[in-house]
Amino acid sequence: MFDSSILLSLVGLPLFGIIILFFIPDTNPDLQKNVGLSTSLLTFLLSILLWLKFDMSTPKYQFVEKFFSVPYSNMHVYVGVDGISLFFILLTTFLIPICLLASWDSIKIYIREYSIAFLFLEAVLVCVFTCLDVLFFYIFFEAVLIPMFLIVGIWGSRERKIRAAYQFFVYTLVGSVLMLLAILYIYAQTGTTDIQVLTTISFDYQTQIILWLAFFASLAVKVPMVPAHIWLPEAHSEAPTAGSVILAGVLLKMGGYGFLRFSIPMFPDASIYFTPLVYTLSIIAIVYTSLTTLRQVDLKRIIAYSSVAHMGFVTIGMFTLNIQGIEGSMLLMLSHGVVSSALFLCVGVIYDRHKTRIIKYYSGLTVKMPLFSMVFLFFILANMGFPGTSSFVSEFLVLTGSFKSNVFVTTMATTGVIWGAAYSIWLYNRVAFGNIRTSHISAFQDLERREFMVFLPCIFLTFLMGIYPEIFLNAMHVSIIHLIEQVQ
């Protein structure tokens, strides 16, 4: 009995928290923050329970239940979890408390609304990753825009945030309305939007190609793939720290998840047909954005561009359509969700203290902020794929997978590792080493306890995924083998 309502509670708990938040007066901001944090922590514990109860031996959707039906149509909104979506849910519930805790002191205005925005985002994201209906996937996918637009626009840092919020909104909307049309076309043709049914229906070749492109227009903006990536550095650099964390940690993964859940199983022929396109765009993403990263001066933009490069690896792995590649890309998404989030948190730490993110003002932080420098070094190494960290395992898997299908692509992608090392180490060099410059910044303060507690779970997870990835991969195996069988 408890099994069946676990997903409902995962969505319901944050919504319940929102309702409680409405009743707390503005004179008590600490209580508002505490309610937000404790609700999200409870949700995280509940999602751990989901993982414990998850049956790894079957590719079927588990914990399936019907949320509601749309009247006068064949749409029944089922939710369920399989090996692909399980970890995205965990990632979401893991990052939301971190977001709330990381911005504990830095958010000064609209504190209640801030917690509400993040809790709403959590509920919607859980719906995105559990929904077994294409139309409702779209609805939740779009609904994410509302809190995110407000988070960037209201709590963002500089004047340019308006432009960033605009770009974020419009890029996403342009892509996704095409996906909406594709979904409506599918519904008009087949009479259902249930993914479990749709994967058993095969469209003819021409239709598949057009539908795949329409889905691609939306998902590629979210991933983001190269020509559509412009919004990402803007949105990242203008969003508040927690906004960047959730953007890099979970929102980018919605694109990858969409490919795995919808594009590949529903349009297998088109996916094979367009593999060269995806490879080409991914290689451009890896090489071009890595080089762009080298000439950025804003710390957040550097990490944003390195995210684009990492997502290039993800898309290559996904379209190798073999088990190493897809599992590698899944693991890379998880690892990137933790590592780049933590990097954004690091930037947030020094931004909170000195209110600037321009590299040239920072130098020699190791002298005055040893603990911070250690943490920052750890995540910089994780970002470049150092053995023992999560990125190494996942990038290795991706490259192994793509080696089977295309050696040239693998060679080009491997250069990305070198570029990654180049910009990561150089970044760390400029910020942490060298002489300490007191001309711009004279007062320093190392990590406080709250900040350290934010980083600790990230460090733990990065090591865990790097040293013992089986616990994550085991849960995925069956589902991904099932996915590959559907394609062949």
Partner: protein, 499 residues
């Protein structure tokens, strides 16, 4: 012949219309007698008449809702009462009622002080109520004129304002021109068929293609074109939209709200009856008319609104764009598209009601003025966050973001368009809705992210507008949770017309 036996039970069937008509006359006499009474020292009875109007509209609404008659044609087939017409009448009377509620505080603060405003609104409402149940080209023309003549005066109602006079004159000239087109179209149809009744026309026009001679066939086509153009004029679809921005801007704000909400229902109900029922056999002929004007309206509305600085002008262009969406629903020509159109219409009027109750309800503390420019809303997010968040949600709904109601309106419409395999139209439609997102989002930007140091404080919103705003916002946010009643109504209304 005895008058009553001649019409039989017809008078009982048109009870709501009769009641509305009597209320108009009584309120007019009441107003004339009392406002000119020397004995009472010429009292200002505007609000008094206003509340009586609201009361009589409420009674009409209850008469309509509890009407026992489902299908009947009255006065020698001049008017028809069926599920569709009753449904549209409820929408029209209900939204008129809400418009009156919304304008009360404006009229009080602006001291317009003439009670004829409400009489004119009642007369226009009567015209529209007759319009949606008209079953004859003559009844159509008569009721559309009753509606339009009241509108011209309403547009010019603020006598002290030059803009208002200009708006009234412009509206009158172009409206009279379109009425002329309508009359010409109806006379062409009458000339070539000898009929004015919708049902008889439908029977005669069935299968006329190829049977009749070329001259009368083409004559009928020309007649249909003129009727369509005249109605597109009235509803403000591009390329017949040029009056809309000026009239919307010039007219007093409650009138603008009224114009952008109620006539859309009436004219679209008429268009549906006329083209889905009477001229249905010419579907291959009229379908392109509506599809092209629909696509053009979407583009003109979305792109034209981008550079508008005044709120009312912006809403005029947004209205043109929304008419465009409804027209492609009309042009798709299936029962599904008709259902989609009706759902879209309901959601559209609720969004407009919500937005205009915000516009009419925010009066500056200093001189109780309404906001004219979009830039007047700057820093509303800091001054009054609750209101600003409400407006944000209304605007997100207008953009068509899920899970707000606006999304479902667009979804049902585009689903029907996809089912009719009009892919190019659908793609243009969704892309123009992205363009439209720009100017809706601009309002949000001004409210929250504005950088000016100009803070305007507002009076507490009056009770009526607050009530209307909050309940319509509730509808927009929670529509997704329980859409059944609306879907069922729309579906029944659509089926009632087609079967």
């Amino acid at each position: 012949m005895d008058f009553l036996t001649f019409f039989g039970n017809d008078f009982k069937a048109v009870m709501p219309e009769l009641y509305l008509f009597t209320a108009c006359l009584l309120l007019l006499s009441y107003g004339v007698i009392f406002s000119t009474s020397k004995l009472l020292n010429y009292p200002v009875i505007q609000l008094n008449v206003g509340w009586l109007t609201i009361f009589s509209l409420f009674i009409t609404l209850s008469l309509l809702v509890s009407s026992p008659i489902t299908t009947m044609s009255v006065f020698n087939n001049l008017l028809i009462i069926d599920a569709f017409s009753t449904f549209s009448k409820i929408l029209i009377v209900g939204s008129t009622l809400i418009c009156c509620l919304m304008s009360m505080s404006y009229l009080e603060h602006k001291q317009v002080n003439s009670f004829e405003f409400f009489i004119l609104i009642l007369l226009a409402c009567l015209g529209m109520v007759c319009l949606v149940s008209s079953n004859d080209l003559l009844a159509l023309y008569m009721s559309i004129e009753l509606m339009s003549l009241s509108f011209y005066i309403l547009a010019a109602y603020k006598r002290s304002s030059e803009f208002s006079g200009e708006a009234g004159l412009k509206y009158f000239i172009l409206g009279a021109f379109s009425s002329g087109l309508l009359l010409f179209g109806t006379s062409m149809i009458y000339g070539f068929t000898g009929l004015t009744n919708f049902e008889e026309l439908a029977k005669v026009l069935t299968g006329i293609q190829g049977v009749s001679d070329a001259v009368s066939y083409n004559g009928i086509l020309i007649g249909i074109t003129f009727v369509a153009v005249a109605l597109l004029f009235k509803v403000g679809a591009a390329p017949f939209h040029m009056w809309a921005p000026d009239v919307y801007e010039g007219a007093p704000t409650p009138v603008t709200a009224f114009f952008s909400i109620v006539p859309k229902v009436a004219i679209f109900a008429l268009l549906l009856r006329l083209f889905f029922f009477t001229f249905h056999d010419f579907i291959g002929f009229w379908q392109p008319i509506f599809l092209y004007t629909g696509v053009l309206s979407m583009l003109v509305g979305s792109i034209g609104a981008l550079y508008q600085k005044k709120i009312k002008r912006l809403m005029a262009y947004s209205g043109i764009a929304n008419v465009g969406y409804m027209l492609i629903g009309l042009g798709a020509g299936t029962v599904e598209s008709m259902t989609g159109l009706i759902i879209y219409l309901i959601i559209y009027i609720v969004m407009m009601i919500a937005f205009f109750s915000f516009v009419l309800g925010t009066q500056t503390e200093k001189d109780s003025k309404l906001n004219t420019y979009v830039s007047d809303l700057v820093n509303l997010g800091k001054v009054n966050p609750a209101l600003a968040f409400s407006v944000t949600f209304i605007l997100f709904s207008m953009v068509g973001l899920p899970p707000f109601a606006g999304f479902f309106g667009k979804m049902y419409l585009f689903l029907a368009v996809m089912q009719s395999e009009l892919y190019v139209v659908a793609i243009i439609g969704v892309l123009s809705s992205v363009v439209a997102a720009f100017y809706y989002i601009r309002i949000i930007k001004v409210m929250f992210f504005g950088t000016s140091n100009h803070y305007t404080t507002y009076k507490t919103m009056d009770k009526m507008n607050a009530l209307v705003l909050s309940s319509s916002l509730f509808f927009l946010i929670f529509f997704f949770a329980y859409p059944e009643p609306f879907l069922m109504c729309a579906h029944k209304a659509a089926l009632g017309l087609c079967l």
